[in-house]
Symmetry: C2
Subunit: 355 residues, 2 copies
């Protein structure tokens, strides 16, 4: 890392360039006011803002935040790695992350793993290159990505893991999430209690640890009830609506079709309900459907979706507070995950089997 | 702006720090390979990556991207300003933006205006502080935000506006979007052609130019048909599901209720359908509902939503290509907006009025 003291003074005000003093003079305000305009414009009266802004436009002054970040070795940026912008589950998580980050003076650099150039592997490079003060990891990484991060620990860059279950390699990083396995077990127990025996499971992606934990919960519940899981009833839904529609069509094509389908997320449950209804069957009379996440569409879909609620906003807040405590306090990361409470939300998409 | 040549050589390799040569020596690879690992890891074989990664972990080497950005005056970051992460309309737009940015070697810094500390006003500060090479603006700004940007033009930072209609202050910036007014007129014409006369409109937010253009299209269509718009049938839905549920309850509460409701986005149309059904009425038999955007939930909702399709991915690609052409070519921004084609998608949520 570059020692900030090696930065020469002239970088602060390169020869011939416009200084903050010029802006203050032209706007007829103090240097402190110009600085406040740049760093916290809402604290500057609108009339003054207009004057300062005009002076900045007139002079072409640049506060050069990059140079500032470089000098103090702080970017005040937190990188959030999530699977996809546009996934409604992240509305709540991001809301929690935002409110804490904003309140503590940080901005967010959001990276999507799904259709991103920055693949999970490249996080290793981000980790060592100090493009952010810390990382919130909301997405699964490739085995290589896990390996890269686990080699670094908190020595190089603070990382907190949210939502996703922690892979064994990342057990030394702090995390905040629900008990995915217990939650999935509870949802399956609920279907069993309604009288279902033929319960199918649509999982996400084979490489995602998150849905494998949910699958484990489903299997544990079935095992406990003395029902052997038919492997042809455990189908990949790719975490997408389209994937779940295809998966549901496969399940409904079996001669002996399931009476209930448990989906590893709500996005897939919405696709599943659509596919069941498109096949001329009723939800829940012919096929019960249960989801996972409680996204905002769960309560307005028809029938309203029975699902597992995750406290998304709380997860976002806890993850960000934990990360910033570490960055600001310079503490070595407290290892291991904090488990937050989930809740089964019973609505209308599951009922006793009609047969 | 800082002249890169004022940066002294020792910043490149501060005394006593680990150099890229040390990493290469320990990993037993060339310096070029280490550089490739940092900048484009997918071009490095997995076996080699593991070796380089281990050498980086062992030495604690930091490529110090911030210092590099500072030197060349390029961050290779594009700031995308959007209303909300978790809004499904942006899945497509972001996908297009991503694929172009990635292919051309840029990463994205995503900022949400909705629940962000960085309010629209603060974009002015971002513009002059060179925290990114350019800005993609997908959200409405406050009047002050518009004013700040319009004072800068392309002189300070390249900006391309996507999706949102351009406010008069920003007419000097390039943009890519559909003709919102014409599209809304077409959707209203369709309801009129089905025989509806009592057509209500749920708009987004009063300060958003985007929904005001859609409202204008609705009013133009009604005017052309010789039907005067009842002002009590034009209601604010806040662009959210919850807002639209409340708005629909108001509309259905009128003694003489509308036979059709046109919503300024799909998110609100989904809330509207839910509210109509919750009131014990049928869609489309009792009330027709038409949306705007064609988000992925439009085709699976019950009944499937008739809506206006926006070519989200194409908008994302065009916006990003236009921005990067400007950044890389150093061209002065071509003014004005490029209009892309919309399409009315007829599904099942609108039908002739039963009365």
């Amino acid at each position: 890392m570059v020692n900030p003291t090696t930065m020469p003074e002239q970088v602060r005000e390169p020869p011939g360039s416009v200084s903050i003093k010029d802006v203050a003079r032209i706007a007829g305000v103090s240097i402190a006011t110009v600085s406040r305009f740049i760093n916290d414009p809402e604290r500057v009266k609108e009339q003054t803002r207009t004057r300062v802004q005009a002076a900045i436009a007139q002079t072409g002054y640049s506060p050069n935040t990059l140079a500032q970040s470089f000098r103090r070795g702080k970017t005040h940026l937190i990188m959030v790695v999530l699977p996809s912008v546009g996934d409604p589950f992240f509305t709540g998580v991001m809301s929690g992350i935002r409110s804490v980050a904003g309140g503590r003076g940080y901005s967010l650099l959001i990276n999507e793993t799904q259709f991103n150039t920055m693949t999970a592997d490249e996080i290793g490079a981000m980790v060592v290159s100090r493009q952010a003060d810390g990382i919130v990891l909301l997405a699964s990484l490739s085995p290589f990505g896990n390996e890269v991060l686990s080699a670094h620990s908190h020595r190089t860059l603070p990382i907190v893991i949210g939502c996703e279950t922690v892979s064994p390699e990342l057990a030394n990083f702090p995390g905040v999430h629900i008990d995915n396995s217990a939650a999935a077990q509870e949802a399956t127990d609920y279907l069993l209690a309604l009288g279902h025996r033929k319960i199918a499971f649509i999982y996400g992606q084979q490489q995602s640890l998150l849905t494998s934990d949910r699958e484990q919960g489903y299997r544990a519940s079935m095992h406990k009830a003395g029902i052997s899981v038919r492997e042809s009833w455990v189908v990949e839904g790719k975490l997408t609506m389209e994937g779940a529609i295809a998966a549901t069509r496969i399940l409904l094509g079996h001669a002996d079709r399931p009476t209930a389908i448990f989906c590893a997320n709500d996005e897939m449950a919405l696709g599943c309900i659509y596919a069941v209804k498109s096949a001329g069957l009723r939800v829940p009379e012919d096929v019960s459907v249960v989801g996972f996440d409680d996204i905002r569409y769960a309560r307005i879909c028809d029938p309203a979706l029975t699902t597992v609620y995750q406290p998304a906003e709380e997860i976002g807040e806890k993850v960000m507070n934990r990360l910033l405590d570490e960055i600001e306090g310079g503490r070595s990361g407290s290892a291991g995950a904090e488990i937050v409470a989930h809740k089964l939300v019973v609505r209308k998409s599951a009922a006793p089997p009609s047969v």
